[in-house]
């Protein structure tokens, strides 16, 4: 059996506020195969975003392991983890999180500055990524000059520009109208189907979840497997 892209082993996570410790994730274990499109669903406060943060190396579990192709990313230092994220993970946020002073092309170019590519190569990569999300004609626009759906497409271009194996999306359609949301979901399906990107998506939206191959539900920090 092929090695999973991500293996989560008995991950626990809690938050401390003063003397009070609030458990958020309890004994989470599951695998994410290469090329999988997984939706994490559950009510607010169920721990979906926390689990996504652990998978993406933004946070580390209190105990347990997050293995990426067999490597325990919890053992990496902060700087190593930053380098790991830039090499292996593309991020798509609910509110796009583009840098407002940069153009669409520069926003896509931003993570590529960490790759050692030359300025010309970065521009070429960024142009290709923007073309992949059908925004070649908006390269010089700033985020404020783009619609929500267009901004999210720029964010997706930024996420795929460095060709990471894993894309994590936190409510990618949460701030969009229905048409734009469907547009984004089609784009994610395409990235998964055509480029083989492994996608982990947190969503409240049942329609969005149905775009994924597999859905896992979190409830009060505990994982259920849906049929």
């Amino acid at each position: 059996m092929a090695e999973p892209l991500i293996r989560i082993e008995h991950a626990f996570k809690s938050y401390r506020r003063g003397d009070r410790i609030t458990p958020v994730l309890e004994d989470i274990s599951f695998d994410i195969a290469c090329g999988e499109f997984l939706a994490l669903v559950g009510p607010s406060g169920s721990g979906k975003s926390t689990l996504l943060n652990l998978i993406a190396g933004i946070d580390v579990p209190d105990s347990g392991k997050i293995l990426f192709l067999g490597q325990d990313i919890g053992q990496l230092s902060e700087n190593e983890l930053a380098a790991w994220r830039s090499a292996h993970v593309g991020f798509i946020f609910q509110f796009y999180n583009l840098i407002p002073v940069l153009t669409a092309q520069q926003n896509v170019e931003l993570p590529l500055t960490l790759t050692g590519l030359s300025g010309r190569e970065r521009k070429e990569h960024a142009a290709r990524a923007l073309a992949a999300v059908n925004l070649s004609d908006r390269m010089d626009h700033r985020p404020s000059q783009l619609s929500g759906g267009q901004q999210q497409r720029v964010a997706i271009a930024r996420a795929i520009a460095a060709d990471p194996a894993l894309l994590v999306a936190d409510e990618p359609t949460g701030d969009l109208d229905r048409e734009s949301a469907e547009d984004i979901l089609r784009l994610l399906e395409n990235l998964n189907a055509r480029l083989g990107k492994t996608i982990v998506m947190v969503t409240h939206d049942q329609r969005a979840a149905s775009a994924a191959h597999l859905t896992r539900r979190l409830n009060k920090g505990v994982l259920d497997v849906l049929p």
């Binding site: 926390t50 933004i58 840098i99 931003l110 960490l114």
Partner: protein
Amino acid sequence: MFFLELILKNAFRHKLRAFLTILGAALAILAFGLLQTIVDAWVGGVDNAAANRLMTRGALSMFTSLPEAYKAKIKAVPGVTLVSPEAFFGGYYVDERKRFPNFGVDPEVYLELHPEYRIPDEQRRAFLADRRGAMAGRKLMKRFGWKPGDAVTLKTHMYDGDWTFVIRAVYQDANEDANEDLFVFHWNYLKETLKKEGSTQAGRVGVFSVGIDDGSKAAAIARDIDERFKNSPVETQTETEKAFFLRRVTDSEAIILGVRMLSFLVIGVILAVTANAMGMSVRERMGEFAVLKTLGFSGQALAGFILGESLTVSLLGCALGLCALPFLTGAISGPLSDFFPALRVTRQTCLIGAEAGFFLGAASAALPALRASRARIAEGLRRIG
């Protein structure tokens, strides 16, 4: 280039805030530079004092005059090479308020003692040959609109009558930041005129300027000179030229210290303002920094961005302030010329100003950079949501 563009765009993201911060830094550097320039003018001459020149004066006070006969005795002290009398004249030209230093000296020895004064040979010869001849600094000539060959009449409260001198030489000081406002003439002319008038001041000298062969032996030679006049009617005090000049400004030491402190206080105030502006800018963008960290930028890289933004603003302000400084100094040097004949922005003031700009930028960025680099990504992202 990419990062430079990002830093510049972020530095000017809030244009009004950036403009006001730059203006504040510029005004602070301007005020700092102006105060430093005034202090420099105040203590002018001290830094240009030569190590191989001593000044011998009356031990009782700066105003006790010495007999001419001391010259030979000082000359006889081992290590002494040259001695010139310097008689303070206290003269003024037309307007009593427009003061400048003027002395009667032994021109030949005086010029030998001061090789830093550059004079064309022809003028040197003319000055030495003319008993009523005088030598003036370039800046002084310009100040009063004099030309070589002009006869200028000085008045003084120390001696009666009008004193007319012919300007034979104009010197340029080798030290760039020297005042060049001296007016020296033949001490013999003063002595002989006073003698004719039967003045008791004829043949009296304010100080002796003493050249020595080895600057490292200055203390020993000074002791030797003073030893010769122990228990004489007028005892002497000999000190290096620098110490002599410093004594002149010692009385104003507290004021100078106050002005210097004030100039640094101005920098301190603008530091607080700039740090606050940077702090606000970083606080507003904590979510953005979390995104950058998420994308793989390290805490150090974020600190670098913030430092870059802060330096951009403070150095621009600093450059603006330093560029405006010569204009402001020029504008006020006229009204202040009676107090500070040579109000000039020195290279050192510019250097300290530039250093202050760097310090301002770095210190303003320190806390915000630390905060941004240490912030946890998850918390930063929650700010956006």
